[in-house]
């Protein structure tokens, strides 16, 4: 098989209040803002770790595909509100330091750093749109 060269470029997380989400990823997690287009609730904001432009998170309004029905749109909004829709797994070599900084900036803590049975140590926060942000320790 020919050697493929594919990287993971952008993943998506929904927002329901673009300014609140932007503040969380930029000011609380310390990500850089790579692009910010649109207006009102229709904003597409690309963020990522400073100096590592290869991978981004696109903060985007949910359910913009016109093929999504009203019922599906409502379900997605409800799942976001109850915290069962979006999630992402981030990583850092300094879990305790990161946890303390993020907590000190007022983020909603879901789980303090803990050893998991699947062999990693991680913590978890909630972003303003209800997405679960897991951060695991690189070791």
């Amino acid at each position: 098989m020919a050697c493929m060269d594919i990287t993971i470029h952008t993943t998506f997380l929904p927002h329901d209040d673009p300014d609140a989400s932007l503040a969380f990823y930029r000011d609380v997690l310390g990500f850089e803002v790579r692009s910010d287009v649109g207006q009102g609730r229709m904003r597409w904001i690309s963020v990522g770790p400073a100096g590592r432009s290869g991978t981004s998170i696109l903060l985007a309004p949910p359910a913009t595909d016109p093929g999504i029905t009203e019922d599906e749109r409502r379900t997605i909004a409800e799942m976001m509100a109850k915290g069962t829709y979006g999630w992402i797994l981030l990583a850092t070599p300094d879990l305790d330091g990161t946890f303390e900084k993020v907590q000190a900036k007022g983020a909603e803590v879901v789980q303090e750093p803990v050893e998991q049975p699947y062999g990693v140590r991680d913590c978890a926060f909630r972003d303003p749109a209800g997405n679960l942000i897991r951060i695991q320790e690189l070791r």
Binding site: R74, A77, E78, A81, K82, G83, T84, W87, L89, E108, V109, V110, Q111, E112, V114, E115, Q116, P117, Y118, G119, D122, A124, R126, G130, L132, R134
Partner: protein, 156 residues
């Protein structure tokens, strides 16, 4: 002033606020499972009557806050038991249970989490599946069985 569409939008906005409040209750359980926590304390924190919280939580998440809290405690207890290379089968076996040292310490920790939930550590071992999935979402999925009904599919 009272256009039907406005009424619907307002009702939906209230529903999303209520769901976000339930999410904060569930997150609090995830965060504080090791503390003395009961439905009354959760309801006080959320500013709603305990019966109302229990009903709304069950409607939103498919099981009561108490069942969710129990599942979380058992999951953490099982995690403690399984840490350090102790497999489920090993931990369940009489040899595993009677081996001294680290396992005994772990068992004591387990009791700390499970006794408030009324589940003895031996029962924790019985409830842990033979093969424990190794991803964040999967752990949440199997542990749901421990304190209530299992949802249809894995979540984070």
């Amino acid at each position: 002033m009272c256009h039907p569409a406005w009424g619907r939008a307002l009702a939906q906005a209230r529903r999303l606020e209520d769901l976000a409040r339930l999410r904060r209750v569930r997150d609090r359980i995830d965060r504080e499972y090791a503390l003395p926590l009961d439905v009354e304390a959760l309801a006080r924190g959320a500013g709603m009557p305990a019966g109302h919280l229990a009903r709304q939580f069950r409607l939103a998440y498919g099981r009561s806050p108490y069942a969710y809290l129990t599942a979380r405690r058992i999951e953490r207890a099982a995690a403690l038991l399984l840490r350090g290379g102790l497999g489920v089968a090993e931990a369940r076996s009489p040899a595993g249970r009677t081996s001294p040292g680290a396992f005994t310490a772990r068992f004591t920790d387990t009791a700390r989490f499970t006794e408030p939930a009324g589940v003895p550590p031996g029962e924790v071992l019985r409830r842990v599946p033979e093969t424990v999935p190794v991803m964040p979402g999967a752990v949440g999925w199997w542990s749901c069985d421990l304190g209530g009904s299992r949802p249809a599919a894995p979540g984070p």
